[in-house]
């Protein structure tokens, strides 16, 4: 049985239409007109237990709506959802026991309570035995570096501290399925690393299934072997991260550090390579690795200029995703 099973899932919202101005507002009050917005458009996918899958798409693409249907907050307009074999909306309470959710920057902890008290309340809500709670708290406090924070009220915490606390609260009942909506947004690199490490361990130790929405492709690259891409409510890609990289990541960048400043004469480059920027003694090229190789370019540049150092950049996922949105996937 898959952990998450989604078949032809659809969510349509009725949105009241308002004409501009005060007259329009009055008209809307007495003769409301609605337009239908298809937020999630007949998508299908399934996640096996223990998978960590990235769910990506621009704002408004339908990611949050999908997650709200998977958590049981929203009911589907049509289609079929099963999480651990249950209908999450109809069996909301039973489903809630087995899932954990992080909603971006919203906190599920009590603003004024110290972290330890908040976590204890959460544990009581999920009926976790005290012994287990104490053991988990110790583990989480260690991995997420919460020791110093346990006696601190949430309202006094920094963004990164809040998110680490949030993750502890989400995983304290050892959920089998976890939905994370932007868990690393706005955080610094060190905190991001810690959070990713924590999620990896949880996944490995407990076989936790994770569906992760993010704008941070670092999250995806580090955690997910598979991605789902949604655009205007439609699922436009479901597959390995590697496949996308290979299909769209044909463009690489190459950086040169030159001796002396600037180019004296125009540079001759192999077909498929072009200069993207040039500032002082640094030169950046972009090339299509199908049409020419990195070594061809390197030797070509070195034959014309004196090179101190050079490096090859990995394909940048942001630009790949942009290409896919622009309709490059068919």
């Amino acid at each position: 049985m898959p952990a998450i099973e989604v078949l032809n899932l659809e969510k349509v919202f009725s949105i009241p239409q308002r004409d501009p101005g005060l007259a329009g507002a009055f008209k809307g009050l007495f003769q409301p007109r609605y337009t239908k917005k298809v937020a999630v458009d007949k998508i299908s996918f399934s996640l096996e237990a223990g998978e960590v899958v990235g769910y990506i798409g621009v704002n408004g693409a339908g990611k949050s709506t999908t997650i709200k249907m998977l958590t049981g907050i929203l009911s589907p307009s049509s289609g079929h959802v099963r999480v651990l074999g249950r209908d999450p909306h109809k069996e909301r309470v039973a489903n809630a026991r087995d899932i954990g959710v992080v909603f971006g920057q919203r906190t599920q902890l009590w603003w004024d309570l110290a972290l330890r008290e908040s976590l204890w309340l959460v544990a009581k809500i999920y009926e976790i035995p005290k012994v287990k709670f104490v053991a988990l708290l110790e583990e989480f406090a260690h991995v997420l570096e919460l020791e110093e924070l346990l006696s601190k009220p949430i309202r006094t915490m920094s963004l990164g501290q809040k998110m680490r606390s949030e993750l502890a609260a989400t995983l304290i009942h050892s959920p089998r399925v976890v939905y994370l909506d932007e868990p690393t947004i706005g955080l610094d690199v060190l905190v991001k690393e810690r959070i990713r490490g924590f999620l990896k361990t949880q996944n490995k130790q407990n076989g936790t299934t994770v569906l992760l929405t993010t704008h941070d492709l670092g999250d995806i690259e580090e955690l997910c072997s598979r991605v789902l891409i949604i655009d205007s409510g439609k699922l436009i890609y479901d597959g390995a991260l590697e496949t996308i990289k290979q299909r769209f990541g044909t463009h690489r960048t190459m950086k040169f550090e030159l001796a002396g400043a600037g180019l004296a004469s125009p540079l001759h480059l192999p077909d498929g390579a072009e200069i993207t920027s040039q500032e002082g003694s640094s030169l950046e090229l972009r090339f299509d690795r199908v049409r020419c190789s990195a070594s061809q370019i390197a030797s070509s540049v070195m034959s014309q200029l004196e090179v101190l150092d050079f490096s090859i950049g990995e394909p940048d996922l942001t630009s790949i995703i942009k290409q896919i949105y622009a309709g490059g996937l068919s």
Binding site: K68, I73, S75, A96, R97, F103, D112, L113, E117, E127
Partner: protein, 261 residues
């Protein structure tokens, strides 16, 4: 049982926070005091002009006032979040938090915040009731004591139930506070004897927005003026209204599930 334990835990945590914020606690308590003092002053002013209000003396009207304050204090303490479910929870999306937890969302909403301002109301209500009943030389017996206790508890239920019924509108219009206020303000009538009002309003205050059951009818009984069953009706009416409120709440929840706002 489990919910009772959970409520206790929520409550204790909340209490710790109050103790931490002594200043806010004091401000809350004193604002309650000033509001209640204002209310009492208004009654004093009215009764100075008409010392005998259709056969009701100042102390008797004070008894009504105290009973309303007492009953209302339960709503203030235990169910204050019903006022702000739209503004604080639905609008911000925090309501979703209740729906991903394995407990009843209405319980979670109510337990989420014990409101300490209610304590002041409770104490003032208690003092006013005791003071007025002392100077009224009420001939207390078991029935009368029971009537007062039931009026306070059942009255609290009436207050909470009416707020529950009206707060459900938050699922449609988000900010339900004005709707709740429109109904809630009727409790002001119950601070005076219902015999003052036209029969329609009296009927409304007995059966529709039954704040009259909180003060007027139990007071009639305790003062030995009347022994209508209405003196004991508030717990039943309160429970009935709670059931209606809970049914409506579930309709609202279904709507939330389809619109998400």
């Amino acid at each position: 049982m489990r919910y009772l334990e959970l409520y206790g835990l929520f409550f204790v945590q909340r209490l710790k926070v109050f103790l931490e914020y002594r200043l806010s606690f004091l401000i809350g308590a004193s604002s309650t005091f000033f509001m209640q003092a204002g209310g009492l002053f208004a009654i004093w002013a009215v009764m100075r002009v008409t010392p005998n209000l259709l056969g009701w003396s100042f102390d008797q009207v004070l008894l009504l006032y105290g009973m309303v304050a007492l009953a209302r204090s339960f709503e203030l303490m235990f169910a204050n979040n019903l006022w702000v479910v739209g503004q604080h929870y639905i609008r911000s999306g925090d309501f979703d938090r209740f729906l991903v937890r394995p407990i009843n969302p209405l319980f979670h909403l109510i337990a989420d915040r014990f409101n300490h301002d209610g304590i002041g109301n409770f104490l003032i209500g208690l003092v006013v009731v005791i003071r007025s009943s002392l100077s009224l030389n009420i001939d207390w017996n078991l029935e009368k004591v029971l009537c007062m206790v039931l009026a306070a508890l059942g009255g609290g239920l009436v207050f909470i139930a009416l707020n529950l019924i009206t707060c459900v509108s938050a699922f449609w219009i988000v900010d339900s506070a004005p709707v709740t206020l429109a109904v809630h303000e009727w409790h002001e009538f119950a601070k005076y004897p219902l015999s003052m009002y036209s029969s329609q309003i009296k009927t409304a205050l007995t059966f529709v927005v039954p704040y009259g059951l909180v003060s007027y009818y139990p007071a009639l009984f305790v003062l030995g003026r009347d022994s209508s069953f209405l003196a004991f009706a508030s717990p039943f009416m309160g429970m009935g209204l709670m059931l209606i409120g809970y049914a409506l709440w579930n309709v609202g929840l279904r709507r939330y599930g389809s619109t998400g706002s």
